[in-house]
């Protein structure tokens, strides 16, 4: 028998980023027992890295902004594949969620009249991103953390959930291991909220950390929940490309929001060459107009550098492929040029983009106030994820909820910058609220011990596998290489079929990974366990990418360049696990909009 300790909660939250913390705070407002589990130390989740800002139609900088415009922007950005109800709730509730953070100690940058300042970002019609320089995520996670630690929530840091537990149809808890000693912990819970973030570690070039192995996606899938639109993986247009060891680290869109421009090796501002139909009316005609926009001129339209991320990423790839790239295979991102426009430009850049300034100075020996950066696309975010009910965030498994990056619906085919931090707040709160309600209305269900035993055996297997078994790091890096090559920015039937084959082979290899050492803080063992999740989400991404025979939003098929498949209509792809343990995919037509939603989109679309 495997030995383990058991803990009892009303609501268990898996993940302590913005979504998990916000959910935990909400769930603990009554007198429920709330547990919060995370893989790293508290305050280190991905949310801490977010730079640019959090989107909310506060209308502090431009009073023309409103939830209606934010809603329309989000729908347009998502190519109308978003769940409209989620987009509506998000646009309506994010201002309140942002304001509330100041009640808990956050301090955003200020406008002249002392309210929360907002900046421009790609795809947002008006300056909408509340921010703190370029360390917004830090401010946000710290405010939630510092408030959360006084709410009576039990926090389990450096613990990893490896499986959800079910009793009948309902979720009954989760099992995990603690990093320090490798011991098992069983968390019995009436409701479980997944807030585990993304999947970036499935790729070679990524802005994401070791934590992003798609755990929540995979846990939910294996527990019978559905995954939707998994083909939509956002490649952020600007990651660092040099030196090799920092390749993929994010360069915030805030650089472009502050006036940064993209140029190729011929010094040409290539973004002006290709402006999509959908945005033709709202894009600047000249560099001057674009500059005025970034400086807050309300009559000016946005520069093409601030078009949606999928488009900017594709333009960069095209420049590089056609031989107009920078020395290390990217293009140039230049903020230093604003010297021509502003007298105190150097100081201005350092103040507005302090962490970018340091990042380049310290990691690449580049002074961004003097010279351009080299940038190229990096895997950044997954729009697809666990399918949830828009209002309650519950999955199709009773008692199982999801919020934040691991959940899906809000962003459709492409996420607008800043819409993730607000997503975490709005739907983190909702998930916490409805999970608490579920826990109040339902009794606990007993956990089945046999299930625990089975999981424990599987998890300990890498220690017993013969030593000739593969090194888990090796398998991880092979997977990343294949995903990058075959399921990256440009995809085709051939590459995707090949990817699925490769993933199957790696799954077999992963069965036999061998790890050395003991269970205590053993990175090799953890990597071996993460592989299960990584392989599951990789397969889901490839399968969904194969299913969508079109190029829309973040998903591009070389063999199907059109935005829509003739006669197929607008659909979401939906993945679930069948009884015989295989991954199956189907399509569902995107639901009709309400009259009000349609009207808003017609007015502003």
């Amino acid at each position: 028998m495997a030995s383990y300790e058991t803990f009892d909660y009303d609501v268990l939250i898996v993940g302590a980023g913005g979504a998990g913390l916000r959910a935990a705070i909400e769930a603990s407002t009554g007198d429920l027992r709330v547990g919060l589990v995370c893989k790293s130390l508290l305050g280190k989740a991905h949310t801490v890295m977010a730079e640019g800002g959090v989107a909310a139609a506060l209308a502090n900088v431009d009073e023309r902004d409103s939830w209606r415009v934010h809603f329309a922007d989000t729908m347009r950005g998502g190519q109308y594949l978003s769940d409209a109800r989620m987009a509506e709730l998000h646009a309506k509730e994010s201002p309140e969620r942002v304001r509330e953070l100041e009640k808990w100690g956050a301090l955003f940058d200020r406008t002249q009249d002392g309210s929360i300042l907002q900046r421009n970002f790609g795809g947002h019609q008006y300056p909408r991103l509340a921010h703190v320089g370029d360390r917004t995520g830090l401010e946000m996670i710290r405010a939630l953390q510092d408030h959360g630690i006084h709410q009576g929530i039990d926090v389990y840091m450096e613990n990893t959930i490896i499986s959800l537990l079910k009793t009948g149809d309902r979720v009954s808890g989760a099992i995990g291991y603690e990093r320090e000693k490798g011991r098992f912990k069983v968390f019995a819970a009436k409701a479980v909220v997944l807030a585990t973030g993304g999947v970036g570690k499935a790729y070679q070039v990524t802005s994401n950390s070791w934590e992003y192995t798609g755990d929540g996606h995979s846990l939910a899938y294996h527990a019978g929940a559905e995954l939707i639109d998994m083909e939509f993986v956002q490649f952020h247009p600007t990651g660092m490309v040099w030196p090799p060891s920092v390749k993929g680290i994010l360069v915030t869109e805030g650089v472009r929001g502050e006036g940064g421009i993209l140029t190729n090796s011929e010094g040409q501002r290539f973004m002006f060459n290709d402006i999509p139909e959908l945005y033709a009316n709202t894009t600047a005609e000249s560099p001057e107009e674009g500059w005025l926009y970034t400086q807050g001129d309300r009559e000016a339209r946005r520069p093409p550098e601030l078009l949606t991320r999928d488009h900017v990423a594709r333009c960069i790839v095209r420049e590089v492929q056609e031989g107009r790239g920078s020395p290390h295979g990217g293009v140039f991102l230049d903020i230093a040029w604003i010297k021509e426009k502003l007298p105190n430009a150097e100081e201005h850049i350092r103040r507005k983009l302090p962490s970018m300034y340091h990042q380049f100075k310290e990691l690449a020996d580049i002074d961004i106030t003097q010279e351009p950066m080299e940038v190229g696309p990096t895997t950044h975010y997954i729009m697809g994820g666990i399918r949830v009910d828009a209002d309650s965030q519950m999955t199709c498994v009773p008692g199982l909820f999801a919020a934040g990056e691991c959940a899906a619906g809000l962003h459709g085919a492409n996420r607008l910058g800043g819409n993730s931090l607000s997503d975490l707040l709005v739907f983190g709160k909702r998930a916490g609220e409805y999970a608490a309600q579920f826990a109040t209305e339902n009794d606990a269900v007993p956990i089945e011990e046999s299930h625990i035993e089975e999981i424990a055996q599987h998890v300990l297997k890498p220690f017993d596998n013969p030593p000739e078994g593969d090194n888990p790091y090796e398998i991880q890096s092979q997977l990343q290489e294949k995903m990058q090559q075959l399921v990256g920015i440009a995809r085709s039937q051939e590459s995707l079929n090949q990817a699925i084959e490769e993933i199957k082979m790696l799954c077999e290899k992963a069965e036999n990974t061998h790890v050395v050492g003991n269970r205590e803080y053993n990175a090799g063992w953890h990597t071996a366990l993460d592989l299960d999740c990584l392989l599951t989400v990789s397969e889901a991404i490839a399968l969904a990418a194969l299913e969508r025979k079109a190029s829309i939003g973040a998903h591009s098929r070389d063999d199907f360049p059109e935005k829509e498949e003739p006669g197929a209509g607008k659909y979401n792809t939906i993945i679930h696990k069948t009884d015989d343990n295989t991954m199956s995919i189907r399509r569902e037509i995107v639901p009709e909009l309400t009259d009000e939603q349609r009207q808003i989109i017609e007015e502003m679309g």
Partner: protein, 246 residues
């Protein structure tokens, strides 16, 4: 490709020692890259914390050639590679394994401090008005990524082990960010003087020197707090005033 030798602290609280690893190094690498390469190729079970790899999360704190550093922001090109590079865990905290230490004490310290307590909102929509100039200095404190390098280097904790009597520079910065917050109404001076032990700090400024966020911990946070404590408890006029007002 060039090679370099890394002496990495391996072991747990009971036994640990430096182990030499030779690995390939290339342009632009940071110490964390080298540690990862060693982990992937030679020591699969090597324990090291990291998340962002960009100096933003404060997870990868350790001591490189004896200096408290973020492993992800320490470039190999800034180190002499003709001799071995030593990489060891922070010494002010108990070792868990290899480069990972038990920093839970820090989290407990924070939990005990009085939380942020705002005055009633200024505007109907529940918001406050604050001038940018009035928050610039707190925004400096709020850059803290909780790497605990300042805690690691402070002699009060590192050498004198006064973890029970002194909250350390990180939490003095935290206290400053709350005390100087324009809308906070709480008074933390009593705690600062007593439980938090601000008097133990003798302004050596070692903490400021190691802070990767370049927070001027001593000058901007600790000294002003000390002054407030002095004003509150040792200022004869104020004491007299207190006697009369009760």
């Amino acid at each position: 490709m060039d090679k370099a030798t890394f002496k990495i602290w391996r072991g747990d609280a009971d036994t640990a020692e430096f182990v030499d690893y030779e690995t390939e190094v290339s342009e632009g690498m940071v110490v964390l890259d080298a540690v990862h390469r060693i982990q992937a190729e030679q020591a699969n079970d090597l324990a090291v914390r990291w998340n962002c790899k960009a100096g933003k999360c404060g997870s990868c704190s350790a001591e490189v050639n004896g200096n408290p550093k973020l492993l992800c922001m320490t470039r190999l090109s800034d180190l002499p590679l003709d001799e071995p590079v030593t990489v060891e865990p922070m010494r002010a905290f108990p070792l868990i394994k290899d480069l990972v230490t038990d920093v839970s004490w820090n989290y407990k310290v924070k939990e005990k401090m009085k939380p942020f307590t705002p005055r009633p909102p200024d505007a109907e929509d529940g918001t406050w008005r604050m001038e940018q100039v009035d928050i610039d200095h707190i925004q400096e404190f709020k850059k803290c990524i909780e790497c605990f390098l300042c805690q690691d280097v402070c002699h009060v904790l590192r050498e004198h082990d006064l973890h029970d009597a002194f909250i350390g520079p990180r939490y003095l910065v935290y206290a400053a960010s709350l005390e100087m917050h324009p809308i906070d109404t709480e008074n933390r001076l009593e705690e600062l003087k007593n439980e938090d032990g601000i008097g133990y700090c003798n302004i050596t400024k070692c903490c400021t020197k190691v802070c990767p966020e370049h927070i001027t911990i001593t000058d901007n946070a600790i000294i002003p707090l000390k002054e407030r404590v002095v004003d509150e408890f040792y200022d004869p006029l104020r004491r007299l005033f207190k006697v009369f007002t009760g």
